[in-house]
Every structure is written in structure tokens, then in C-alpha cells.
Symmetry: C2
Subunit: 458 residues, 2 copies
């Protein structure tokens, strides 16, 4: 007798569970497999698929109800989904595409070769869905048009709450998540919204006209960037945002779950850029992909270092006379790199945060200058002390190191501030400026300054 | 005559608008100010406040309806809010705290000195709100208990849809956003949820028993971490997640807007950690704060470099004989740093991503080893070529450089892999391993290896 116990804990995939499923698939034990997974959420079944091979996954998914299978396929990662769907025919794929949300449908189809894409669209039973998909395919993946879905509930401003409830009923299957109903005029121009809470509390006979909120409307254009969408939804705490065209006609909506994914991916991308990884990779990607994503900046950094080597090599007579000079090369290089990244990441952060007025370049530089000056002074004094300890007595060397460090901190702060601003103007992700690029540039500049000061003072 | 035009564009704060508002405040032109801002969203008025001084802000906020003023105060940043509320008495603050959501109320009060906190709670008119606040104050800010709010709609499983609608009506003021109604038993144990869509479509007389979804329930415990909450909500595409105690009693809920803020802040924090910034600062913070947040890692990195200088200094006889050795110091240092950060950030990323089975340490290291080996080989060959070009003829030097680089890439990959895993075990944010810490460590190790090889080969 199993004790009935309300289980609130999320599903966690274990090795044992996976082995059982695998064995059941080998045994083709359909009923037992279904019994084991039918209580799971689609997203949990997705995490099982990640661990199965292509044939096993297909077998498992085909045992499931088409609706659940479609939800599972929507939840898969791009790369895994591509591999997974290779085992399916266009006809099989079209059965799933028929019922997923239109935005997910477009994402899935865009991963497929053109031939499969066309075949699947032609095979779709739901012609409205086909129209939705063709419509959405025009938009760039990362703009509002590419993030939106066509599924939403809209109602004419002249209708009643009762008619609105009927519309919700009619579309209950197609529109899974309803947060509010969009109110439009005869031309389809978005006028406002009514929340479901309001609909529940309104008298059934009331006119939409009298209950909808006309002033509580924030919308975006199809060409708005993903960042703009995310900023607005975050600023106004929205669960969904309507997308309109230039005339204000309602075209679709973007739901918060897609924006959360977008925010997470953007943050991931910035971190990879800062780490000098040039492709979107994960630890469990192939060795070849991992090597390829890391080589460009590895080699790029090395090229920079060889340029630095060229500079240092010119001073080998000086170094031969006073080898202690070379002991401070790491200090100059790494301090320049650290300061540069500190400066640039603050600028990148404030470029991303759009609340408040923009700081003018001039005010920005003034502040950076003061902060850099204080840090440079403290660093220079500290360096003077430490280098006196290491090469006691060599006071001229200590002065040289200290002076160079001062210059390097100032220069690296300036570079770290200007580079992301310039990149941003050029529409390049400014986070690039917090990566190996700024370190390498600052290294070279730093060595140049150091050896110039060495040349003049020593 | 102004043409009436449906305006879907978000509000953007301009200098002119701000100047006008400032002037109107000086003129104490109440009605004009209200006319100018009454159509704005609270979040937009918040962005105006950021640009005003304390007295101006207070004057503006006190012109507004208490409800809107409370929403504005909820939306302020921690630092700005602290400054802003300094101008208010405990009684004034309590009027706002009385109506904000309980989770925001706790955040606001936690920023205040203990005396003010106690006074405000004692002055609250809404005693239920006071109870909510005292209850929530027990929890740590970043766990589920600290993120949750007490405002939610719950209904006993034995009640009817009609009673449920009445409950929504009764709480319409207190619970601003309703996504679904939580269904509990007589002991308050969470049994399931009913979406508002279902309530709209259900017959009014139906029993909750017959319409609620018992199997579609994902909840968290009060002690679940913010990351766990964010992962679950993202995985299952939830707008709100219920929080229960160990017996399964419903205690509160966490809404997606708070989780979006949490995700954004965590990503920000990781980037700051990677950039070697030790406090949560923004570009527009005070110079002193900016200096202070950057100095620890600046000095930390310098200490590392002086250790490196100590190592290099021991070899000054060798360097005096062959000064070209020193030209390759930057190559060794920066390659080690770059490789270390590449490795560690991949590990940090996969530690954060909890889908699928955990990779075992052994499998992880095997893969890292293969990737490192390929990169190390390519880097070593490239370095051999380049160093032959720079110091043509010095074949032994080129071999030394190439061999050292091979060792450095291997070593830095290993360090970059192990450090975040160890930090994670110690419950320290593993992103620390992608910051100056790993660069500095790898620098020192790299120079050690390089000069050891120099010593043996040259």
C-alpha cells in the first residue's frame, strides 16, 4: 500500500531512473514506460531525452500524446532538437508544428533545412497556423517580431464581457496562457487591455468599452530589439507585451517566459565574450567545437604578446645591463589588464541599464579621470614600496616602476572607458571590450610606456 | 487643437521635460505638475525621481495619490530609496508600507535603521499587513522565503467557483496580480491550482474539487535558493510559484517579476566578479565607492605580480646573459590568464545549468584534458614559429618558449577547471574563479614553469 502523500518536490532525474527507462525501451514495454512518465511535466521528459540516443528518444516521444510530445519538442535546446528531429519525417514533424505556439513553431522550422521547412508548412492541417508561421518568418530572431507569438485573445471594443468570455472559450485550446484580453477597434488598432481578473469581476452583460483600461498600455513595434522588450517588461512588471505595427495595429504578443530565456541567453553571451570564447558553446559540446571556440582569442592574445615581445626585444641591451627591469614586466601587464576590464565592465553595465538620463561623454570622462587618478596614485605608491623591498636600494628602478604603473592605470582606465562606447556606437556588443581584446591592447600599451620610461630614466 | 493619437510608445525622459518639472516644483505649481505626470506609469515617475534632489522628490511624491506613490517607492533602487526616505517621518513611511506588496514592504523596511523599522511596523493601520511583514522578516533575502509575498488568493477545495469569484472580489485591492487561485485543504496544505482562465470558463456553481488541477503543481520550500526558484520557474514557464513549508502548507508565492530582477542581478554580479569589482557599484555611484570597489583586486593583482617579480628576480644572471628570455614573459603570463578564464567560465556556466545529469569529475577532467592538449599543441607550434621569427636562429630559446607555453596551457586549463568546482563545493560563487584570482594564480604558476624550463634547457 503506497501512502498518498502530496509531493511538491520537483522531479530530479537519477541514473537509476534513466537505466530503467532505457531497459524498458529495449524491451518495448510501452505501458510500463507510459506509467512511469505520464505524471511528469513535459519539461521533465525533455530532460530525460537529453540523455537518450536518437532512436530511444523517438520511440519514447511517439508513445506520448501528440500535445505533450509537441510541448516536449518546444522545450528542447536548439542543438538537441536538430539532432532529434533528423529521425522524423516532414509529415511527423508537421503533426507537432500544428499545435505548438506559433513563435516556437518558427524557431523549430528555422533550424530545419529549407526543403523540410517548406514541406512541413505545406503539410500543416491547421491553415491558420500555417499563415501565422509564414507571417512570423519574416522577422529577425532577436527582435520583437521574432519573439512574438500570434496566439492571443482579442475583442472588439464594442463587444460585451459575455462575448469576451465566449471568445476565450473558443480559443481556450489555442491560447494556452491568457493574462489579459487585448481590446481593438474595427481596424484592429490596439486600444487597451482587460485583465482576466477584471473580466471575472465584471457583470457579464457589461460593455468592454466600460471595463477596459485604455491608459494602461505599453506596447512594442515589430522592429524593437530584444533588449528593449526585456527592459520594458522588466520596468513595468509585465507578463505579456503586445506587439503593434507602425499604425498601432495589434500583431501579436510576447510572453514573459520567452523574455526570461532571452535575458538569460544574453547574460550568458556577455560572459562568454568576456571570457574570450567566440562561439556559443557548453561544456558538453564536442571536443572539436570546444577547441574551435577557444582558439581565436587564444591565438589573438598570443599575437598581441608577440608584438609585446618585439617591443621588449628592442631593449635587450638595457635589460642585459639591468635585468631587474624584466621582473616588473608582469606587474605592468597584469595591472593594465585588470584596470581595463574593471573600467570597461562598468561602462558596459551602464550602457545596458537605460533608466534615467544618459550621461554625457564629457561628464563620464571627468568622473573616470578622478577615479583613475586616485587608483593610480595608490597603486603607484604601493608599487614604489614593494619594488623597494624586492630590489632594495635601486631607487631609480623603483621610481621608474612606480611612474610607469601610474601611467598604465591612467591609460588603461581611459581605454577601458572609450572602447565599449565606440563599440556600442558601431553596434558591436560592447562586452567585447571587457574580454581579451582590452587586456591584450592594454598589455602592449603598458609595455610601450614602461620601456619608454625605462629608456629616459635609466 | 491636438490630434488624438493612440500613443503606444514608452515614455522617455528628456532634459526639457525634467527642467519643466523642476521649474514647476520651484513655482509650487501643484495642478500643472499633476497634469504633467498623472498619465505616466509609476515606473516612469520613478525614473524622474532619480534625477531630482531629496526635497524636490518628496514634494512631487506627496502630490500623488498614496497608491501611486507607494508603487513608485516600491520601484526605486535600494540606494536611491534609502536617500529618498530619509526625508520622511515614520508615520509618512507607514502610510506607504500599508499598501505595498508584503515582499516589497520587507525590502523597504530592511533598508531602514532598526528604530524606524519598528516604528513603521507599529504605526501600520493594516494589522494583517503588519503580521505579513513580521512573518517575512525571518527569511534570508535571497532565498524563496525572502522573495515571496503573502498576497495571494487561496480557496478551500470544498468551496465552489462562485465562492472563489467572491474571494477574488474581496481581495481584488490587496492582490494586484492574480494568475491562478491556490487550492488548499482544511489544514492549509496546498493541493493544486486553478487558472483564472478555468474559473472564467467554469460554471459558476461547480465545485473547486471538480475543476482544479491537482497534478500541475510545482512549489518550493522557504529555504530553496533564489537560483533554484529561478531555474524551476524558467524550466516550467511559470508566472508565479507557490512557497510551502515542510508539511506542504501554503505560505506565500513568488511572482515572475521578482525572479526576473533576481536573474538580472545575479548575472550582473557574476560579471562584476569576473571584472574584479568587489562591490555592487554602478557608474553613477560616488567616486569614493567606485575607487573602493576596484582597489581590492587591483592591489590583489599587484601583490601577485610582485610575487612573480620575486621569482623572475632570482634568474637575473640568466637574463643578463640572454635578455631575449624576458621578451616572452608577457606571452607566458597572458596566455595562462586567457586559457584559465576560458576554462573556468565554461565550468561556471555548466554549474549554473542544472538540466540533465551531472557530469562526473572524472569524465569532466578527461574532456578538459583532450581539449587542453589540442589547444596546447597548436599554441606551442604557433609560438615556436613566432619566436623563431622574432629571435631568428635562437632555436633553443624557441624550443624553451614553445615547451613552456605547452605546459602553461595544460596547467591553466586544469586550474581553470578545478578552481570553480572547489569554490562551488565551498559554497563560494564559482564566478570568482573567472576573475583576477585565476589570472593572477596562473601568471605566477606560468612564470615558475617558464623559468624552470629556462633553467634546465638554457
Amino acid at each position: 500500500m503506497e501512502e498518498i502523500n502530496v509531493q511538491h518536490l520537483p522531479f530530479e532525474l537519477t541514473k537509476e531512473f534513466l537505466e530503467e527507462i532505457r531497459q524498458l525501451i529495449i524491451d518495448q514495454a510501452k505501458d510500463e514506460i507510459i506509467a512511469k512518465i505520464e505524471d511528469l511535466f513535459p519539461a521533465d521528459i525533455t530532460s530525460i531525452l537529453y540523455e537518450l540516443n536518437g532512436d530511444e528518444s523517438k520511440y519514447l516521444v511517439q508513445l506520448l500524446d501528440t500535445k505533450i510530445a509537441a510541448a516536449i519538442i518546444s522545450a528542447l535546446d536548439t542543438d538537441d532538437r536538430k539532432k532529434f528531429l533528423k529521425n522524423f519525417t516532414s509529415k511527423e514533424i508537421s503533426a507537432y508544428i500544428n499545435i505548438v505556439d506559433s513563435d516556437d513553431a518558427v524557431d523549430i522550422l528555422n533550424e530545419q533545412p529549407v526543403r523540410i521547412r517548406e514541406e512541413v508548412i505545406a503539410l500543416l492541417k491547421d491553415r491558420e497556423q500555417a499563415r501565422f508561421i509564414i507571417d512570423l518568418m519574416h522577422y529577425d530572431e532577436d527582435c520583437a517580431g521574432g519573439l512574438m507569438q500570434k496566439e492571443l485573445i482579442k475583442i472588439n471594443v464594442t463587444q460585451t464581457v459575455t462575448e469576451c468570455v465566449e471568445e476565450i472559450r473558443r480559443q481556450a485550446e489555442d491560447v494556452e496562457k491568457v493574462f489579459s484580453v487585448y481590446v481593438v477597434d474595427d481596424d484592429g488598432i490596439l486600444l487597451g487591455t482587460v485583465s482576466l481578473k477584471k473580466i471575472i469581476l465584471a457583470k457579464r452583460g457589461s460593455k468592454i468599452q466600460d471595463v477596459y483600461e485604455a491608459d494602461e498600455i505599453v506596447s512594442v513595434q515589430t522592429y524593437s530589439t530584444g533588449e528593449e522588450v526585456a527592459d520594458l517588461m522588466q520596468k513595468y512588471d509585465l507578463e505579456a507585451i503586445p506587439v503593434v505595427n507602425i499604425q498601432g495595429r495589434l500583431l501579436g504578443r510576447i510572453t514573459i517566459d520567452d523574455v526570461v530565456d532571452f535575458i538569460t541567453e544574453s547574460a550568458q553571451e556577455d560572459i562568454q565574450v568576456m571570457a574570450g570564447i567566440s562561439e556559443d558553446v557548453e561544456e558538453d559540446d564536442s571536443v572539436w567545437l570546444l577547441v574551435r571556440s577557444r582558439l581565436p582569442w587564444l591565438i589573438g592574445g598570443m599575437v598581441g604578446s608577440f608584438l609585446a615581445a618585439k617591443i621588449i626585444d628592442r631593449f635587450d641591451d638595457t635589460i642585459a645591463l639591468l635585468p631587474a627591469i624584466s621582473a616588473f614586466i608582469p606587474l605592468i601587464g597584469s595591472t593594465g589588464g585588470n584596470v581595463g576590464i574593471q573600467s570597461s565592465s562598468l561602462i558596459v553595465q551602464s550602457l545596458a541599464d537605460k533608466s534615467g538620463l544618459d550621461t554625457t561623454l564629457w561628464k563620464r570622462l571627468q568622473k573616470v579621470f578622478v577615479v583613475a587618478l586616485i587608483n593610480a596614485l595608490i597603486a603607484a605608491i604601493f608599487a614604489f614600496g614593494c619594488s623597494m623591498l624586492i630590489d632594495s636600494g635601486e631607487i631609480m628602478l623603483s621610481i621608474t616602476v612606480s611612474l610607469s604603473l601610474f601611467a598604465v592605470v591612467m591609460l588603461a582606465s581611459l581605454m577601458g572607458t572609450i572602447t565599449p562606447l565606440v563599440l556600442n556606437q558601431l553596434k558591436i556588443n560592447p562586452a567585447v571590450a571587457s574580454g581579451p581584446f582590452i587586456t591584450t591592447t592594454n598589455d602592449i600599451l603598458g609595455y610601450g610606456v614602461y620601456f619608454m620610461i625605462v629608456y629616459f630614466l635609466l
